[in-house]
Point group: C2
Chain length 381, copies 2
């Protein structure tokens, strides 16, 4: 049996209820939500609303129409970033961002949008004061990750959000690594938009992403098309969610996402989180005593969650990840994790890192097997 | 049991192999394709390639990387239209287009892109000469549907494509209603891009779309982000398909799409098409003899496929569709089918139409039940 330690990419396995929800949707009511008015179409429409409501419950939001469905967190980020900026604007971000933030910004830089990359320390920590110092009169948006997908380092989104509010700047959080894992109260956090992957901590299938948009924010859509609403209108509707959800949605995937969030709510987010923290604490502690292994990011679990990056001596990280897969059937990710600036920050742009990311279904026995494997590999010459 | 006549929106049911492929992917190898290098991730990557190859086989294309995955046909169209045009350009389209073409064009019109809507006749027929006459020196793109989602009227894409080639203009076909249903040989057709829905004629699950991009065409992406390739690169890769597929793809959906296309290839596209034509011919013939019912679009099956729009006297189409659902358990779509210009063309912008769209799993008995129901409803006062 595989020991799956790649939950930062996609959580696996899913709760059985997720598989059932996807299958049930396809088999029993696989029609177009919000389009035709027949019973199957109405049921398809209802499941979209149900999943929005589950999201609202998890993130303490009242209005389900503030939760927008996308293909993935990357689409959510593109929609948010491009939807609120225009030539002449300035955007602040950090050196810990994933390419799903950096690459859209690099694209916008071609169109007279300026960007500042606030540097993290060597553990991936961002100082909110550095964000504040980077603010210009034309700063329109601050975008930061909630937790690095390389080092797991948490970003103080509450403090940064307060600064953004103080200056009247929009704040977008990339919660790809934390949504569903760390409790987030959007009714209290000073956050204007939050991008999420459906297939990671929220336990849904791939092909699902979410963008939370605060009531006072209106974005330019990324795509226009059929919405099932105002069919006679040649222009994209003005209201959410239709404004942002053109074309037929991934109904089975969204049904599965709803089941994933229900599972989290039933089990209790705190309980699930403390399980992951227990596994990660044990792993970090044990691995820190293996000579020849370097751990990146903070040592204190209060400052990190999820992804744990390590290296063995000077060995190429992809080579180690491959040995873990081949010899031990342990699924990790090696190399550069689509976040070159983060690797530059922690000094691993050449070597990459071996990333372990436990999920809620990993056991302490599996973690111990990972530690044993690393112990053995640490003797490699 | 429901008689599902809404296949123009989403085909249902799917072949059993589609459900199995989706489930198998989620349960057995639900990891990130093309990211991590472990066994599950490699298998996920393989299934994407497999589905691309199935698409190539169906459409007679050699290079699987010309088949780009999207969320739906709407995204494919947005990517194609926005990806090849810039301010100052002129675009030609028709009065039979879905909002997934019209709404992106209306958006572009705000940015100094001019558009011409070539008018169809009252049966939805487009004359290629009218397209030719609309060409200007700055015409960059011609975009037409392959078959109307309202009247089923076929557009002569071969002739229009030849005109486009003659003038060095890009030609984009919206094959949402035909891909998988009508044999299309992209190795011979003068078509530069073709947008498809995965969840209609191709028999895949919702959440899947495809854009075919000819080798000589390079588009500006709609979204930038992680691609698993060139992770150290701060810019979107230049090569297809990665250039256009940012973020984690809908792997289970794409696995299902591959199974759907395999089913079509196994059964034979001609056999499946002749089944649909037989059903539609019978339906059109029978309904044309019911007094008080108006059928839209051409009467000859050589000129149409898929969607059949009708109305009963002056009754609101949504009301009739609702009666069909409530009294007869027949799932159709009433009202305006996200194509206001097409409704304007055939004179149903107010009444809408009741749309019947049979699929490969509909039977002649079901068609006869639909005819009986319409016969009864035609006596409504």
């Amino acid at each position: 049996m595989v020991i799956y330690m790649d939950n930062a990419a996609t959580s696996w396995p899913k709760p059985k209820s997720v598989y059932r929800a996807v299958l049930n949707c396809m088999k029993r009511y696989g029609a177009n939500p919000g389009r035709s008015g027949h019973k199957m179409a109405i049921e398809a429409g209802k499941i979209l609303l149900h999943t929005r409501k589950m999201l609202c419950q998890l993130f303490s939001i009242d209005n389900p129409f503030q939760m927008i469905f996308t293909l993935n967190a990357t689409e959510s980020l593109n929609l948010a970033i491009k939807g609120c900026t225009k030539p002449g604007d300035h955007i602040i971000t950090t050196s810990m961002e994933h390419n799903s933030v950096v690459r859209p910004l690099k694209e916008l830089e071609k169109y007279d949008i300026k960007t500042t990359y606030v540097k993290a320390d060597s553990q991936g920590r961002i100082d909110p004061h550095d964000i504040k110092k980077a603010i210009r009169t034309n700063t329109r948006l601050i975008v930061t990750t909630h937790a690095s997908n390389v080092t797991g380092t948490l970003v103080p989104i509450d403090e940064i959000g307060k600064i953004a509010r103080e200056y009247g700047i929009l704040y977008l959080v990339d919660a790809a690594q934390t949504a569903g894992i760390i409790p987030i109260d959007l009714s209290k956090l000073p956050v204007d938009m939050m991008a999420m992957a459906g297939h990671k901590g929220l336990l849904g299938p791939q092909g699902t992403g979410v963008l939370y948009i605060a009531p006072h924010v209106k974005l330019k859509p990324l795509k226009e098309g059929g919405t099932g609403s105002q069919s006679e209108n040649l222009y994209q509707p003005e209201f959410a969610p239709d404004r942002y959800e053109a074309g037929t949605q991934n109904t089975p995937g969204i049904a599965g996402l709803g089941a994933g969030i229900s599972y989290i709510l039933q089990q209790g987010q705190k309980k699930l989180l403390s399980h992951i923290i227990r596994l990660e604490k044990f792993f970090l502690e044990a691995v820190s005593h293996i000579p020849g292994i370097k751990i990146y990011g903070p040592t204190n679990m209060d400052e990190r969650i999820g992804a744990i990056s390590i290296n063995i001596k000077d060995f190429d990280s992809a080579y180690i990840a491959n040995l873990l897969d081949e010899r031990y059937n342990i699924a990790t990710r090696g190399a550069i994790h689509c976040a070159p600036l983060a690797h530059q920050t922690i000094g691993t742009l050449k070597q990459g890192t071996v990333r372990f990311s436990p999920g809620i279904f990993n056991t302490m026995d599996e973690v111990k097997e990972c530690i044993r494997a690393l112990e053995q590999l640490s003797h490699l010459k």
